[in-house]
Symmetry: C2
Subunit: 358 residues, 2 copies
């Protein structure tokens, strides 16, 4: 797969900043919304950006590590919860359904490799790479290089289809019991963060559970003899949903969409993507800081401060769905707010804009 991802042309930065500064407000008074508006303007290469048809893509997959008799301690929930939650998505009863509805976001749910036969379902994208989920990284590679490429290509294809329907802003979410464990390993290898700092409670392990999870993941990391290239690490530790998200992100950045990044697992997919194509980061808005402990370190590694800090740790793209109104507000103020000139409002007594040192 080849993706052509260039950073946004920076020529409009000056004019965009000038437009922002001319709005009827003290200079800089909209804080981080101003930086977001500037970013959106640069991505869309216009002084009047428009965010159209927001979508969230939720990819679901199962992890062989959870089915592995040695991996029983990796999650507080049984593996069946993956397919049960997908059914919950399809029935409209999960948190991501509620938040997407409340905020006017269209939800797309893709089966990347859930160990369950859903049969043909109208509102489920069947993108299954394997009917059994990944293999166990406690024994060997979670997926083959070919499977990894298939998952990424399917993610890219899904996003291309969403884009073709007129969408230019997309959030990413996931479901997969055991995938905080995968994300911990990916984060450890790609961001160089000690594994102990990457391992957290996931869906609700207690201290003893976290300790057992760390022991298992240390064994998995030690067993690995491959290189630390992003696709090698991704294939080794899975899951299919993470690979599918990575492919989707690359396709979205290539199409100059705005990407809404969710929590720990989605950010682990972004670590893969950003290592391959660092320019992708310029298309990302970071929606929230998860309470899953490794997420904070991922965000620091990427040098970014997310929009929300609500102690969420649910996944599904819920952080992205909750942050979307802030993103929409950023574009809206740039487009709709009056300027000092147009509204006949007197400017600050200092004729030049006095930066306030914020």
């Amino acid at each position: 797969m080849e993706f052509n991802i260039a950073p946004p042309n920076d020529a409009l930065r000056g004019p965009l900043q000038q437009k922002i500064d001319g709005k009827t407000k003290p200079l800089g008074a909209l804080g981080r919304l101003e930086a977001l508006a500037l970013q959106i303007g640069l991505i869309q290469q216009t002084l009047t950006p428009e965010l159209r048809q927001p979508h969230i893509l939720v990819c679901a997959g199962d992890h062989g590590s959870l089915a592995d008799p040695n991996g029983a301690g990796l999650s507080a929930f049984p593996q069946d919860v993956t397919w049960q939650m997908v059914e919950n998505f399809l029935a409209g009863g999960a948190a991501i359904n509620v938040f997407a509805r409340a905020n006017g976001i269209e939800l797309v749910v893709a089966d990347a490799g859930v160990a369950h036969d859903f049969g043909p379902r109208e509102n489920l994208v069947d993108a299954k790479v394997s009917p059994h989920g990944t293999a166990s990284y406690l024994e060997g590679p979670a997926m083959t290089a070919a499977q990894c490429e298939t998952a990424m290509a399917r993610g890219a294809q899904i996003v291309a289809g969403i884009h073709a329907r007129g969408c230019n802003v997309i959030g990413f979410g996931e479901m997969g019991i055991g995938n905080t464990a995968s994300a911990s390993l990916i984060t450890h290898f790609l961001a160089g963060i000690p594994l102990g700092d990457c391992v957290g409670r996931g869906t609700g392990l207690d201290d003893a559970g976290v300790s057992r999870k760390l022991t298992l993941l240390r064994q998995a990391a030690e067993l690995y003899r491959g290189d630390h290239m992003p696709l090698s690490v991704l294939a080794r530790f899975g899951g299919f949903e993470i690979a599918m998200l990575a492919g989707g992100m690359l396709a979205a950045a290539e199409r100059k969409m705005l990407l809404l990044i969710d929590g720990f697992i989605v950010t682990s997919a972004l670590l893969v993507v950003a290592t391959l194509h660092p320019a992708t980061l310029q298309y990302c808005a970071f929606s929230h800081r998860s309470q899953e402990r490794g997420h904070r370190l991922q965000l620091e590694h990427l040098g970014t401060r997310p929009l929300l800090d609500m102690d969420l740790r649910l996944g599904e793209g819920t952080g992205a769905a909750l942050a979307w109104p802030l993103v929409r507000a950023a574009a809206a103020f740039l487009d709709e707010m009056a300027s000092f000139a147009s509204a006949g409002v007197s400017e600050s007594k200092k004729s030049t804009h006095a930066q306030t040192g914020s």
Copy 2:
């Protein structure tokens, strides 16, 4: 004025928590949205709360301190900007208009005492206490006790009218050049915070400007010989828009509405209210942490952590408007999310809910 403000009955706390814990998500995984949902349920005394017809009330007023020849350094903007911004509100071009429109919030703008004749205007509530704004607290009281009571009563009346139209959630915003100075003095006297910590850049003073502002406010504080009772402090330092907001908040809490608190100036009105009727605080959702320096200290004084931290310092109720989708999402998950039982999703392997120490 007498307000009857009782804390919400706590009997539903257990059932509400049980309902929240039964939703299809790891225990506690919706973080601070869960606390917010619980609060809304308690305020409305139901397991199925409904937030109806959100409004934001923006009160505007002018400050005699700004017209005072000695008070020239109190703001980076001239006093005329107050009425000019009210015109901007009426024309729909200000940030609060944009955010209210984007998030489905109805805006009510009230003239509490702007030093400008707007004439009769369809979408402006004429609640003017004085056609000249307040008097200068650099010389004496900003308003008389009677004016203070009038402003509060009119605020209460406006909110009662909004409530009568079916609204049960209301945000508060303000416009008034010079009102961070008023808010600093009120905060100093009512929260016991050193004045130097309460004084910030407002609309954009530089360091020398802040220093001059502090000198002026120190003089105003030293000139005051009255008691530190909330209504005395409010009348002494104004402004009319702050008094009107305080009255509006009391009426809202009395009617068991949910109050969305904005930034530094709105919180100074709440300090008045909370000193009179501490139970009001249980009806408040704190929308954001302003970059105006005293706001952080006000929030610490009240022992609360706000929803957003976006480096805003604009006022107008913009923080409340931006936080509203989070509040709506909290009520929505409580009402709409499936439970483990209803969705047929397996619960955590620990049969009792293992609290994860968040």
